[in-house]
């Protein structure tokens, strides 16, 4: 088990990448601490799987280095990196029994039979397949096969890291929840570094201590779930994390005042003159509905009751805008205004958050 460092890493599937768009992964520096539980979150095609395959050595990056501890493993093949990876779709060895499937990685490492048997018992219990250990893997359901894949990923105890590439896609919802809990439990007990790729924020937030959000081949933010919620560094993070995501409005910012939807309102910080496309973002949790002259004009479209709160959907100056109203709080009769909480209103320039502290100093 080691710390994994990515140094100035980038990858393109083309032999001679030219423009920015040719890079599947844009240059990045990133550290995965030893024993961390990470989620790699982002929409399809943003480079998550590419990054994972580079860490496991299935892909050789176009540039940059990968370090396991202090050792440069960039040129090292997968076999020698001793890493476990579970893929999105089940891969089982058809001609082997479930037991042999689970034993395969251990046998390849030449472990003694007694130790193998003991590990298989543990893992079989974990994935709930003790009864079917001696069945042929062929002919099992997709669920069961994926559980075998998961088991094979977890069976080695000495791996440097375990990578999961959307492993629960084919598993039914109930089992999904249970397996996720098992993974979490496994992490607590053995302390493997785990990287879990997903595009499902619930999955990411429940599994990980640290969430890495990727967008368009870039790591846009890496932090605790709380940090991602409180201060999204990129509008994509705001939009992707949260249900519904952050509201974003085009705005003009002048000092500590902002103008959006033809209304002037105060911000919590002073900002210098900003260049590029300036926007403000505020989560639906930090918006109040109102009626009268205060706040931005709001056109209510519908109200969704999701149990412990209600989501009010509508528009501000033509852009979609959502408000979360906690349970027990009334929705005003003629709600035609929204009032933003300045402390939780962020300013974005060209989609990147303007840090209030540095902004104050500059202003």
């Amino acid at each position: 088990m080691v710390k994994i460092t990515l140094e100035n890493l980038a990858h393109s599937y083309l032999p001679h990448p030219k423009g920015d768009d040719d890079w599947a992964l844009k240059p990045m520096n990133l550290t995965w601490e030893d024993g961390g539980a990470y989620a790699l979150l982002g929409s399809s095609g943003c480079g998550k799987s590419t990054l994972l395959n580079i860490i496991s050595g299935l892909l050789v990056p176009s540039q940059g280095r990968i370090l396991f501890g202090d050792r440069d493993v960039t040129a090292l093949p997968t076999m020698e990196r001793n890493i476990a990876q579970v893929f999105q779709f089940p891969v089982v060895y058809d001609t082997m029994s479930v037991r042999e499937n689970l034993a395969f990685p251990l046998k390849n490492r030449g472990l003694p039979a007694v130790q193998i048997a003991q590990r298989i018992d543990e893992v079989a219990k974990m994935i709930g397949m003790t009864e079917v250990l001696d069945r042929r893997a062929r002919g099992l359901t997709a669920d069961a096969k994926q559980k075998i894949s998961l088991g094979r990923g977890m069976v080695r105890q000495d791996v440097n890291a375990i990578l999961f590439d959307e492993p629960l896609t084919v598993i039914d919802p109930h089992m999904k929840w249970e397996l996720r809990t098992q993974l979490k439990d496994l992490h607590r007990r053995f302390g493997h570094t785990m990287i879990y790729v997903t595009h499902d924020q619930t999955e990411a937030l429940t599994f990980a201590d640290q969430v890495v959000v990727m967008y368009d081949g870039r790591v846009v933010q890496s932090g605790t779930p709380q940090a991602l919620f409180d201060a999204p560094e990129h509008t994509f993070v705001g939009y992707f994390i949260g249900s519904p995501g952050m509201n974003v409005l085009d705005a003009r910012v002048d000092g500590s005042m902002a103008r959006a939807a033809d209304m002037l309102f105060a911000l919590a910080h002073r900002y210098p003159a900003l260049s590029g496309n300036v926007q403000i973002g505020v989560r639906p949790e930090f918006v109040r509905l109102g009626a009268g002259d205060d706040g931005l004009p709001f056109a209510l479209e519908r109200v969704e009751d999701v149990g412990h709160h209600r989501i009010v959907r509508g528009r501000v100056a033509g852009a979609p805008f959502n408000v979360i109203v906690p349970e027990g709080q009334p929705i005003p009769e003629r709600a035609d205004r929204v009032i933003l909480d300045p402390a939780h209103t962020h300013v974005y320039a060209d989609e990147w958050r303007v840090d209030p502290a540095t902004a104050e100093r500059a202003a």
């Binding site: 496991s56 299935l58 093949p77 076999m79 990876q85 779709f89 058809d94 094979r152």
Partner: protein, 288 residues
């Protein structure tokens, strides 16, 4: 639920029935007819019962030909199947060279049997053939016309040249259908090259291998044209396989009765072996 019965539907099957009758059933029944009778020409037939069958089964000549035939099929299966797999494993997976290899591999398959025979007949000749002459110039005593072993080697090499492509192409198709994820998982599991072959590639190729072995067995067991053109069954009877022997018997000696019995036995042997083989392989596939 009762299905509506409409006997006129049988009429729709009639064309096929007639076609199959003329192309397969009637000729076969003619053979059956000959196999149980004796004839001296002039459409005069005498009932012979199972005499021809008994004669064929106890004939040393037929037994020798059967022995050679089994040996031939065994040798070419033992060479072509592993060689075909080996070639398929080493063919490029994509890009220009993949297409190039495919075309190259398909070429021998497109050449008519008798042309293949003629090519090798000339190729191996000691006086003007490239192969024969070169070997002779190198001091190797090679002559397929006089030497039984040389004749066998020539015919086996010719068949390997002609048909290994088929095995290779079938295996290649089987290999191409294996998703990348299997290879990636094997690398993650630190499997050796041999284990990748044994536990991923071979199981996934099982279906096409079954077809390849069946096709090659049936074809090689019925081989006629190529050895006929190259060696004519010689030297002596060294390369007289079943079908060559059969033609000699039927057309050369005009022993229609024994030849008919011989044909039927020949046919049943191929049918039986193919059936047993197919059943065994598919059973295996289910229990694996």
């Amino acid at each position: 639920m009762d299905k509506p019965v409409n006997n006129r539907a049988w009429l729709l099957v009639l064309p096929v029935l007639i076609l199959v009758a003329f192309s397969a059933v009637l000729p076969l029944m003619t053979v059956v007819n000959y196999s149980v009778q004796d004839t001296f020409g002039g459409n005069q037939f005498f009932w012979a019962g199972l005499e021809w069958f008994e004669e064929t089964l106890s004939s040393d000549r037929v037994r020798a030909a059967l022995g050679r035939q089994i040996m031939f099929s065994a040798i070419i299966l033992a060479i072509e199947i592993p060689l075909g797999i080996f070639i398929a494993l080493n063919m490029p997976k994509r890009g220009f060279w993949a297409s190039f290899c495919l075309v190259l591999m398909a070429l021998p398959l497109l050449i008519p049997w008798n042309v293949v025979g003629t090519i090798w007949q000339v190729f191996g000749r000691v006086d003007i053939g490239l192969l024969g002459h070169t070997l002779k110039a190198m001091g190797i005593d090679y002559n397929y016309v006089n030497d039984a072993v040389d004749a066998w080697i020539t015919i086996v090499v010719m068949d390997v040249w002609h048909w290994t492509s088929l095995v290779a192409l079938l295996c290649y198709a089987g290999l191409q259908s294996i998703p990348d994820a299997y290879y990636q998982a094997a690398r993650i599991d630190q499997a050796s090259r041999w284990k990748v072959f044994r536990y991923i590639e071979l199981p996934k190729m099982q279906g096409v291998l079954l077809i390849a072995v069946l096709l090659r067995f049936m074809d090689s067991f019925m081989i006629y044209t190529e050895p006929f053109v190259v060696t004519g069954g010689g030297p002596g009877n060294a390369t007289t396989f079943l079908s060559i022997d059969l033609v000699k018997m039927a057309v050369g000696q005009f022993d229609l009765g024994p030849a008919a019995a011989f044909s039927l036995i020949y046919f049943l042997v191929i049918l039986l072996v193919s059936f047993v083989f197919y059943t065994a392989m598919t059973k295996e596939g289910e229990t694996l």
